[in-house]
């Protein structure tokens, strides 16, 4: 199953790529996790409450260890302390529940439903802003989380008469949960991704005629064509200076500017995301715009404009500038996520 960008089940979720051959026998790895640590983790997770046996628990712990090698580079042997630190840094109860569900454990599914069904519906309603759409979204997600698993088991059972756990693991989106944050937070993020992707996809399907020429003409430069040559030079200079000033901003500042000026987020929304007071966001935005203005003025003066001319240039109608701020903010020369991720 492959999906295009923004379409489908898990557009941004890396499908778990472990196959049956990748999984070494549990007996080989049983010694790689300290038994005392396993006992501690077993007590911590309370996995017996949803019917996970000790052996299944150990297998899942070994799977996690193999996928991430205790957070260390491949080939490195982790010390017992490192193992303990790794497992304690995870939301292990949530992770165990997710993996147990991904393995098709019915009791684990019931436990999952009891814990997350109502919160999931509430989150979906909050995300969509509509109860009907919210319930649909939550139901669709649950159907994907649960339905795909059981369907695939049935299919593989039809083929060879036995359900293969590795096949189940490959498809269930819950396998991509790695326990860094809470499971409910992860589910909320998945819901938000689904909603945004759905919205963007349906928005793209709107006919182009809806975007009338009258609306488009509002954004055209009113005086660009009739400007004298000196004004054009000043405008080019201003465009370059603004571009340079924006590109030198730190990532968080650009994120702040984009959120506030491009997305139209409120100070409160930004503050909640950054875990600061909204007055702090307001001050930061004020400081940012002030610094940008000073920076542009300074650079204009360095480029040969007088102070007065530079200040007059700043009073230029933004529509006269050959600048697309949206594009500018979104194509920063700084190293992007994908570049740093090695793609």
């Amino acid at each position: 199953l492959r999906y295009r960008d923004g379409v489908g089940v898990t557009p941004s979720q890396p499908a778990a790529t472990l196959s049956k051959s990748d999984i070494l026998p549990a007996s080989r790895h049983l010694s790689s996790i300290e038994s005392s640590l396993l006992e501690e983790l077993w007590q911590l997770c309370d996995a017996a409450s949803y019917g996970l046996t000790r052996n299944q628990f150990t297998e899942i712990a070994l799977d996690i260890e193999m996928e991430r090698n205790f957070g260390q580079p491949p080939g490195t042997i982790a010390s017992p302390e490192r193992q303990a630190i790794f497992f304690r840094s995870l939301k292990l109860p949530d992770l165990m529940l997710a993996r147990a569900c991904a393995r098709g454990n019915e009791l684990a599914w019931r436990h999952f439903l009891a814990l997350f069904e109502q919160p999931l519906i509430r989150a979906a309603i909050a995300i969509t802003g509509n109860e009907t759409q919210g319930r649909d979204l939550a139901d669709a997600l649950y159907a994907e989380l649960y339905g795909l698993t059981s369907r695939e088991i049935e299919r593989s059972g039809e083929k060879d008469g036995s359900a293969e756990p590795a096949e189940v693991k490959r498809l269930c989106p819950l396998n991509s949960y790695q326990g860094r944050g809470s499971l409910i937070g992860w589910l909320r993020t998945i819901l938000a991704q689904r909603h945004v992707d759905h919205h963007r996809r349906t928005w793209r399907e709107q006919p182009l005629s809806a975007f009338s020429e009258d609306v488009a003409s509002q954004f055209e430069s009113p005086t660009l064509g009739s400007s004298p040559a000196s004004t054009l030079i000043e405008l080019n200079l201003l465009s370059q200076t603004v571009e340079e000033a924006l590109s030198q901003l730190p990532a968080e500042d650009r994120f702040l500017l984009a959120s506030y000026y491009l997305d139209g987020r409120t100070l409160l929304q930004i503050a909640r995301l950054l875990h600061v007071h909204e007055a702090t966001v307001s001050r930061k935005l004020h400081r940012l715009t002030g610094e940008l203005r000073k920076h542009v003025l300074r650079n204009l003066q360095k480029a040969g404009l007088s102070k007065r001319a530079a200040q007059e240039a700043l009073g230029t109608d933004p529509r006269d500038l050959d600048l697309n701020f949206k594009k500018l903010l979104q194509t920063s020369p700084s190293e992007s996520f994908s570049e740093k991720a090695g793609l």
Binding site: R2, D5, G6, P11, S12, Q13, A48, S49, G51, T53, G104, N105, E106, L107, A114, L115, E117, Q118, R122, A123, A126, I127, T149, S150, I153, V168, S176, R180, G181, I184, G185, W186, R188, T189, I190, A192, Q193, V196, R200, A251, E252, R254, F255, A258, S259, L262, D263, R265, Q269, L273, L329, Q330, S332, E335, S336, F337, S338, K340, A341, L343
Partner: protein
């Protein structure tokens, strides 16, 4: 940060969620912010997810009491202990001043009444300071003597108490007179306070009524009557002439009560049961002794310990600041709901409480605990859920086959002996074995 899909260069939900929950390291956070500064899709996702998380947090916080918000700039508000101490000191000073003022007020009024007419001001002006000095020197001595009397650990006989009060008045008068260096003429106040040592006549008694009257009664009560009866009996005596009568009456009452207290306590009159005796009470007796809202407490053949725990928890203070409206206890787990419908769980008999995340709809009104009797409770309360808990392996195998899922191995979970039930305002019922995870019935 995990590697994104080749088909999609957005960070995965794991990383976005870790960013929302502030779990990313600095470097990884910078990378993610750099991406989100250029990606409106991911910005939308994190804002929507954060908004939903905020809604969930808000709904949980609504169930908890609102705590006083301390602003970082309001430094004085953070000095709460000092504020409290200052307030207490102010109240204490005010109370002391008021008590002293009230104690002095009648004396001063009398002294004003005894002031000679204006024509003889030259002769009267000299004793007045002496009177004031004397009157101010009396109260501490009287307070001290009365304090000693009230703090006396040994109960006094009425006649002894009267004698001690008279002695106190005498010592007060003596100390007042010794404070006066010269035999200047005393005004009426001084004369009334200064009782002669052998002057237990009718004229001297009213002077000591300010302090004395209740004392014999108090001593009687201390001797014979415990608890609130002491106050009820001490109240009537206000006047000296009534003193003797009430003393006699009290002696009679005290005698009666002493006679009663010497009798063996009858079960119907037992108010408090402590220690071993409570452990010996049967279920029915405990159920009968439950408060009027005991119908909310599950009493279906649960153990006496559970019932007692649930009963005691009715007086506990929950984290929401309210007392429970319904409690239930089973298997060393104690559940309670408050007026707001929030459900709290305690694993240590109500010492600490934990808010249970709502997994139900509506407002909980009733909470119950039911024992699981094999073959009865399953059909009565839980149906399949109880059956699965009691016979996990067989049921799991059946369910797994029905759904096409794989359930491997027997479950080593012991069958619970009881389960909890909550009922919301629309009559829907949810059940749980551990009080944390609830499933609709």
């Amino acid at each position: 940060m995990s590697r994104p899909n080749q088909l999609d260069l957005h960070p995965d939900a794991e990383s976005l969620n870790a960013y929302i929950e502030h779990l990313l390291g600095d470097e990884e956070r910078e990378q993610l912010l750099a991406h989100m500064a250029t990606c409106s899709r991911c910005r939308q996702v994190v804002y929507l997810a954060r908004g939903a998380a905020y809604e969930a947090e808000n709904s949980i916080q609504k169930a908890l009491p609102k705590k006083e918000k301390r602003l970082p700039g309001n430094w004085f508000a953070n000095w709460r202990p000092i504020r409290m101490a200052a307030a207490c000191a102010c109240v204490a000073i005010l109370a002391l001043w008021l008590s002293l003022r009230l104690r002095h007020a009648p004396i001063q009024d009398l002294s004003k009444a005894a002031t000679p007419p204006a024509g003889s001001s030259a002769t009267v002006s000299s004793p007045r300071p002496a009177v004031q000095e004397e009157s101010t020197s009396h109260p501490p001595a009287m307070l001290e003597s009365s304090r000693r009397r009230t703090e006396s650990p040994h109960p006094l006989h009425p006649s002894e108490a009267l004698e001690s009060n008279v002695r106190a008045a005498q010592s007060t008068a003596i100390s007042g007179s010794t404070a006066q260096p010269s035999p200047q003429p005393l005004d009426s106040v001084t004369q009334t306070v200064a009782v002669q040592p052998e002057g237990l006549d009718e004229a001297a008694r009213p002077a000591s009524t300010e302090v004395i009257p209740a004392q014999p009664i108090v001593s009687l009560n201390q001797q014979a009557i415990p608890g609130k009866n002491r106050l009820a009996l001490a109240a009537p005596s206000q006047h000296v002439q009534g003193l003797m009568q009430s003393a006699r009456a009290n002696a009679v009452v005290a005698g009666t009560l002493q006679a009663q207290s010497s009798k063996p306590a009858q079960p119907s009159q037992t108010v408090s049961v402590t220690g071993e005796s409570s452990a010996m009470i049967s279920n029915s007796a405990l159920a009968a002794s439950l408060p009027s809202n005991a119908g909310n407490v599950g009493i279906d053949a649960l153990s006496a310990e559970d019932l007692a725990t649930a009963r005691d928890a009715m007086h506990a203070i929950l984290p929401s600041g309210q007392t429970p409206v319904s409690t239930a206890s089973a298997q060393q787990r104690l559940l309670a709901i408050d007026n707001a419908g929030a459900l709290f769980l305690s694993n240590d008999n109500g010492k600490t409480w934990e808010l249970v995340a709502p997994q139900w709809t509506g407002h909980i009104v009733t909470l119950r605990a039911h024992p699981i009797v094999s073959g009865v409770a399953s059909s009565r309360a839980l149906g399949e859920q109880t059956k699965e808990a009691a016979e996990p392996s067989s049921t799991a195998a059946t369910t797994g086959a029905a759904n096409g899922a794989v359930v491997r191995g027997p479950m080593a979970q012991p069958a619970p002996a009881a389960f909890f039930e909550i009922v919301n305002d629309s009559g829907s019922i949810w059940t749980s074995f551990n009080g944390k995870v609830w499933a609709p019935k």
